[in-house]
């Protein structure tokens, strides 16, 4: 065995996997360019519903962080060093610049951890005197990189993580996994996974016969991915930007009790909030959410 994980990942995913991908034919005359930052966890194809609803003169592009070998591999092997938010953003910005996308204003959208990277991309453009290139900055159920939300791993409660995992399982099967209120409260990982396995097989989210060991393996991978994102943001406490941040928050948000997910602290102007249906993992696939997002991206918002 001579390959490092990053090399193996590159071989498996193939050289055609680029960080920046245009979704559709090139449109140099596009009225509005939209760049979406995707952090993995779900296939990049989940953006299709939302981006397909953009006006025909739009030019959607995707920055898929899962194609960054060090980022992807760190979700598999927790002991690997991880790439930080600043370097991820720098690589994204390099690709955007080389593609000529920073020559004109564009809308920058990030889902989940992708919103944090989108924020840093905007900060870097601001720092270069090119802040006007980011016409809108939109974060989709992203938790702001502020001190209040930077928690060490041991403070992440199992009930909260299992609840997120339930949403994730449902989204992978394009349906919602419904749990009774408080079904996971007070449970540890093992008992909580038992509840999820029973419900997921009963509701057709997992096939009959799925073994607890299989679900545990999936949960471990999910958890390692979350921890990876946490590791990417360690020490990243950016200053606020003089721009409006639009916060799109689903009914089933990662942090339902936080109205702004911490973004008020990083937005030098009042934030704009957009409530949408769905949960953290299904929000991009909900037609109503896609319509709301498309309307937002079409009409724009006063970012600066």
């Amino acid at each position: 065995m001579s390959q490092r994980p990053e090399q193996a990942v590159r071989r498996q995913r193939g050289p055609e996997q680029r960080l920046l991908t245009p979704l559709g034919p090139p449109r140099p005359d596009a009225a509005r360019t939209v760049v979406a930052v995707h952090p993995g966890a779900l296939p990049a194809g989940v953006w299709q519903t939302a981006l397909a609803r953009l006006p025909e003169d739009g030019a959607p592009h995707l920055l898929d962080l899962g194609t960054v070998p060090e980022y992807f591999a760190a979700a598999l092997v927790p002991t690997l060093s991880v790439i930080g938010v600043r370097e991820l953003a720098e690589r994204c910005l390099t690709e955007l610049t080389e593609a000529g996308l920073t020559e004109r204003p564009f809308t920058l959208v990030g889902w989940s951890f992708g919103g944090v990277v989108a924020y840093e991309i905007a900060a870097r453009l601001d720092g270069q005197g090119l802040g006007d290139r980011v016409e809108d900055l939109v974060v989709l159920d992203s938790i702001a990189p502020v001190a209040a939300f930077q928690r060490p791993e041991e403070e992440l409660r199992p009930a909260m993580l299992l609840g997120w995992f339930a949403m994730y399982l449902g989204a992978k099967r394009r349906r919602r996994l419904t749990l009774a209120p408080g079904a996971l409260e007070g449970l540890g990982e093992q008992d909580g996974l038992g509840v999820l396995l029973t419900e997921a097989t009963a509701q057709g989210v997992l096939p009959d016969g799925t073994e607890p060991a299989g679900l545990r393996k999936l949960y471990t991978a999910f958890h390692t991915g979350l921890v990876r994102n946490n590791r990417c943001t360690v020490g990243y406490l950016p200053a606020p930007l003089d721009r409006t941040v639009t916060v799109v928050k689903p009914e089933g948000s990662l942090l339902p009790d936080s109205p702004d997910l911490g973004w008020t602290e990083l937005s030098g102007r009042p934030i704009r909030r957009l409530p949408v249906p769905g949960d953290h993992y299904t929000m991009l696939q909900e037609p109503e959410t896609a319509d709301a997002l498309a309307a937002l991206l079409t009409t724009g918002s006063p970012t600066r």
Binding site: P43, K172, A213, K217, L218
Partner: protein
């Protein structure tokens, strides 16, 4: 812990994959890359967890990347099984 041969590992993987995909075992090409089967990452991880339970030991997280076919993974499993049995 019992030693698992490459043939046994291959048979286990073929049977489980065939059930997941709803096809006959004879339709499972052991030289095909895992990511070319109609198996998403969720199903692949669940299968990996069930495989580890059957084996009685954990595989490293990158096993599927280093050994991306049933044939290659089965050989690796046999080597790992030998190592675990020897260490037990």
């Amino acid at each position: 812990m019992q030693r698992v041969t490459a043939e046994e590992a291959r048979a286990w993987l073929v049977e489980k994959l065939a059930i997941r995909l709803g096809v006959g075992p004879e339709q499972i090409d052991v030289e095909r890359y895992f990511d070319e089967f109609d198996l998403d990452s969720t199903e692949a991880l669940i299968l990996a967890g069930e495989l580890e339970k059957w084996l009685g030991f954990e595989l490293e997280a990158t096993a599927l990347w280093y050994h991306p076919t049933i044939a290659a993974l089965s050989e690796h499993i046999a080597e790992e099984s030998d190592r675990h049995v020897a260490a037990a």
